[in-house]
Symmetry: C2
Subunit: 334 residues, 2 copies
Amino acid sequence: MRIGVDAMGGDFGPAEAVPGAVAACRDFHLAITLFGDRDLLDPQLEQAQASGLDIQVVHAPTWVSADEGPVQALKKKPDSSIVCGMQALKDGTVDAFISAGNTGVLVSGSMLLVGMMPGLRRPGLVALLPTLKRRPLVLVDAGASVDPKPEQLVDYAVVGSIYAEEILKRTNPTVGLINIGAEPGKGNELSRQAHQLLQAAPVHFIGNIEAREMLSGDVDVVVADGFVGNVILKLAEGMGMGLFGLMAAEMRKSTWSRLGGMMLRSRLLGLRAMMDYSEYGGAPLFGPRQPVIKCHGASHQDAFKNGARLAAEFVRLDVVGRVQSRLQEVAHGE
Amino acid sequence: MRIGVDAMGGDFGPAEAVPGAVAACRDFHLAITLFGDRDLLDPQLEQAQASGLDIQVVHAPTWVSADEGPVQALKKKPDSSIVCGMQALKDGTVDAFISAGNTGVLVSGSMLLVGMMPGLRRPGLVALLPTLKRRPLVLVDAGASVDPKPEQLVDYAVVGSIYAEEILKRTNPTVGLINIGAEPGKGNELSRQAHQLLQAAPVHFIGNIEAREMLSGDVDVVVADGFVGNVILKLAEGMGMGLFGLMAAEMRKSTWSRLGGMMLRSRLLGLRAMMDYSEYGGAPLFGPRQPVIKCHGASHQDAFKNGARLAAEFVRLDVVGRVQSRLQEVAHGE
């Protein structure tokens, strides 16, 4: 098994991607292929003391920035790290691909280059969100498709359910539609239409849920359009970390509170880790026939390392294959 | 000055609305008119020992539930508490109206019954969100208009800016558009179009901001479509309270952590109060020519009490009049 890593993607480029990939190779015994500009990668590899490890470099002299149009990028930059990586995924020289780069390119590349699994209209990003019950919920779509059709939300409900069953081992997972009120007629045009379609879908649909209720952990899968899903993901991330930051500042304010903070330290660190999204290593993109993991744009090396581990788990467990065959069962009415 | 209170709206009806209104009358010396079913209100008034206070009751024998269509409700239920209240606002027998009821009726009632201030296409809900800098940001629209046109987001940017200047005393307040990426081309169709329009709008537009950055407190006004804005508001609320709940549970786990918790108690309670949305008393609806305050559906009596106080402040400061004349200045290019 070989994991492809886009070494140029993300806010920090090779400076974080390369040491993260090296750590994944060393600690998890993974074979890694880095895609990127060899001139920039080699010094990073040297610094990370990568010699002797099973790390290959595919020279990709250009890269795609966050604001480039995806279809343009696919056409005009075949030698970019992200496009080379997706091409390698299609060719089978890597078994999974992780990138902290342009989400749009990963989505379009899945459709135009790698090829889609049958039964899905467009890719959806699957994110795990921590809940108060300490068992994550599955959020789809977390940002792949920002103006979806109502039918896509049904696809995402099916993918999310299968993911919850197969990977999180939930029995008959419940699916909620994110909305701004409990009643079926609430929400915008998209959510009203999706609500109707979901009632007839082969999932355990429990109706609309409001963002406030998500974190209770009472629902297994939450379906959202990619714009709303991405806002949810980022707000949850910002609030989780922000509140711990505020709390740390409060604790530093007096000797007394500093002492109290020390007594709570291990418990608070546990909670903080629970809220830390970099632990999850990234969000799998469902749709492409081979595993693609989208890492956070602001990924540091730990996130790349965890992303590579997640990608390897996806290959080992054949998650994509399992979702694909379950999708076909669903399509054929089981 | 007289504040109208929808005594039937919200999840708990008169059982919370009436004691909340009574407390506002007693503690803030406000004249209150309650709209609702007299048979249900009278026992609550008696229980709250309201005799001698300046509280009138307008008998409204029906009420509108959360799932009723707003235009239908306006037509078919002229004797409902929420419609009677808005009619009284139009007639001038009350100076402001607060309700924890159906948002759609407040929006449609503003347009069809009370009348809109010139320069606004549709009403927008203005919510204040706590930030890490301990100064709230202004979020518009927090849930009034769920499928807005791009032009509406410009209106909301203007209203939010005026609110930040006039009420929060911010100088040249910055306005961000909630989006899923920093670049102008990012996001869904609505946000791409709104971004373009906002660049030419008479506000201090600083571009897209991601949900993660909202809480930093670096931006004064955040513009969102009502669906996304409502999701943000409710998620922030759920997360804030949820995390404090988790923390309290951690603290109870050992004598040592309980002691640490006690030492931090006052500081944590301060933080918790900062995150508690019921402190704000509700979200003003901008658009109607008279102040309308939307209270949280799950409002308890404190929220009604604070909502009535907020409504009174709106009347005292003539917030609606000030926003209205600033809107006209903006429309005439100042």
